[in-house]
Assembly symmetry: C2
Homo-oligomer: 391 residues x 2
């Protein structure tokens, strides 16, 4: 028998959701998306979280069947929710928020009918916005991730062997991460980010376009999963960019570092330094009140001034962002794009990843995860940024 | 520049989809789900596959941007699809199928508007039904998975060490699978099957209920991912049930085997033998024309006759199926439930997993993946079924 109750941390988060709900004039939201369930309850189950504008939120659990608690209602199907609300003397919502960007059309229709709401609104963006600014506990979870990810990254040179393929190398890195406590599983928003524990990109493979919205690509090991390592033997004169899973506790840190095999071209060395220059510039200008689009513009400006714009954020295929929020999911808000209207707020957590793809040589650049503080960016992924040698 | 054209295999599969479309009287389907994109094209990209009832199917690709081919149309957004159809002299569909169980409400609404169809129907079930009976190439892909999964499973006793935790053991098994070519990534249908590379269940942890529709559970390593190994040290007198990822090529085999540490209870030994008896009975009765519900009933009947019904398909929380289709996704049709109306057809591929959870000892039982042939079931996961010793 497991017991689930709303903690004070849950109350804090639900308060943030309610602030957004008030702005959108919703009577209630019914949450069904895994990431939002975890956000509001600190637990993962099959079911729903019902948050009325006023009154006690309720947790409706289908599975596991032994989950109980003062605010838990065990149900077999969502059609039982309204009766449970009525029993508790709670009004049925006239204007109901459902996560229309995250749940299937069929599930949304089923919930709409089950709840009998006059009007259904899309609360996906509202939830993303509530989650965009992190609580202290969330930031500490991501900081812990950063420490453990760094502990695993520190051991990377140890598992490299000459004539290894990129996939063999990735397998050993996966093992290092898992032994440090990495859960191995990535949560992303949207259905289009299929990958196993992240990306190890060697040499020219970094220039292979992918279907996914990752900053850099890779051809992948199989046509069914066309992203990341492609099985090539790692050769002198190339780089290996490592951007692997930082989920150790339900939250994620996002950190990329680059190693080299033998001597690499001066252009690649320079591009890596420009990436670090971009990070320093962004660290200097980023604080609450700064529009994220300015960060993007600054990054492009520095890359252009260095004569490296052609290789910035990809070469054959380019990503149109230089960073993104990170938390329960890898791709949270704000997204650092040129067109974003978002403005930095205190305690947002963002990954900034100015990367370059140098044909033949590979990808270079650094990605750090930062907390936005009044005093600027606080790095949560502390690890040497220089390109280190693998042999 | 990558080239994508419909192969003869794609034509075969699209033929099966069209047979279902004719029955549902659809003018066209617009496919957006990754598994269905892979099914109909043999490739994975961000975009859509448009299949009209008559005329040439088209592949609309957003990313990667360098994917071309005779039937490929590169677009930036789905709103460009109708113009491309008109340019080719193709009629716009009056009755359009969209995968309403698989794509988000927002995406479905966007596609409905973009296509301007008079009527949108849900084609998710139709696609599942088309994929339910496999082609020869699909069956061969799953057979290859079974061979490689068996090659990895054979090495499992080698990586076990006394006083290991279940997670440490799982990490070494993940590495074995990956070194054999496992892609590490699971495709499942629906959003509720979050797991990293499968399940290693030791001792009493097998009796911990989970939110997910897996046959047996496990408490998991973290509250954010409550399934599978929970970090316990593996002790004498317990079993380890290993049900790990069989995706080596976009298709998956599903195989479970059990090992023991020291001597286990007679009840557990007996239950494992009853699981094998159930498999033999199902192998004997399963052929085209047999309702899958009968397979379920037979399994329960044998478990009950052995006095083990209480432990069958879980103990504290029970699964209400004894098997499922398997292919691109782990949980395909048919699902072997007591209420299913499905009837076995030649070249369905099903995983059958009669499992028992014996409190304190752990999970026992065998899972095999089978091809349905005229002559009965053909096992695609050939590996010794006996409980083997880990020490």
């Amino acid at each position: 028998m497991s017991v689930l109750n709303f903690s004070s941390e849950s109350a804090l988060r639900i308060g943030k959701v309610r602030a957004q709900m008030a702005e959108a004039q919703l009577d209630a939201v019914l949450i069904a998306d895994n990431a939002n369930i975890y956000y509001t309850t600190g637990a993962m189950f099959r079911g729903y979280v019902y948050i009325p504008a006023d009154g006690q939120p309720l947790i409706f659990v289908i599975r596991p069947i032994d989950l109980t608690g003062d605010d838990v209602v065990n149900i077999r199907k969502p059609e039982q929710i309204t009766a449970a609300l009525s029993e508790r003397g709670m009004a049925l919502p006239g204007v109901l928020g459902l996560e229309l960007d995250d749940i299937s059309y069929s599930d949304a229709e089923r919930l709409r009918k089950a709840m009998g709401a006059d009007c259904v609104c899309n609360c996906s963006a509202l939830m993303k916005r509530a989650r965009m600014v992190k609580t202290d506990a969330e930031i500490e979870a991501i900081r812990q991730d950063g420490l453990r990810q760094a502990a695993a990254y520190r051991q990377i040179p140890r598992v490299y062997q000459e004539e290894m393929t990129d996939i063999e190398f990735q397998i050993e890195i996966e093992r290092l991460l898992r032994l440090e406590g990495c859960l191995g599983y990535y949560r992303t928003s949207g259905p289009l980010m299929e990958i196993n524990m992240g990306s190890v990109l060697n040499g020219g493979n970094a220039d292979n376009p992918t279907p996914y919205d990752f900053a850099v690509g890779g051809g992948g090991a199989d046509t069914s999963l066309p992203v990341g390592a492609d099985g090539r033997t790692m050769r002198p004169g190339t780089t290996v960019m490592i951007d692997m899973c930082g989920n150790f506790n339900g939250y994620q840190s996002d950190m990329t570092r680059v190693w080299r095999i033998g001597k690499i071209s001066e252009q690649a060395v320079k591009a890596h330094e420009v990436s670090r220059d971009i990070l320093r510039a962004i660290e200097n200008m980023a604080c609450p009140g700064v529009p994220v689009a300015l960060l993007y513009d600054k990054a492009v400006e520095i890359a252009r001034a260095a004569g490296l714009e052609e290789f910035f954020m990809g070469h054959r295929q380019k990503a149109m962002f230089i960073g993104h929020g990170v938390g329960i999911q890898l791709n949270e808000w704000p997204v650092l794009t040129p067109r974003s209207k978002d403005v930095l707020e205190k305690n947002m957590v963002i990954a900034v990843e100015p990367k370059f793809v140098i044909p033949e040589v590979g990808a270079v650049g650094v990605e750090n995860t930062y907390q936005v503080t009044e005093g600027g960016l606080r790095c949560l992924t502390v690890f040497p940024e220089e390109i280190a040698d693998l042999l």
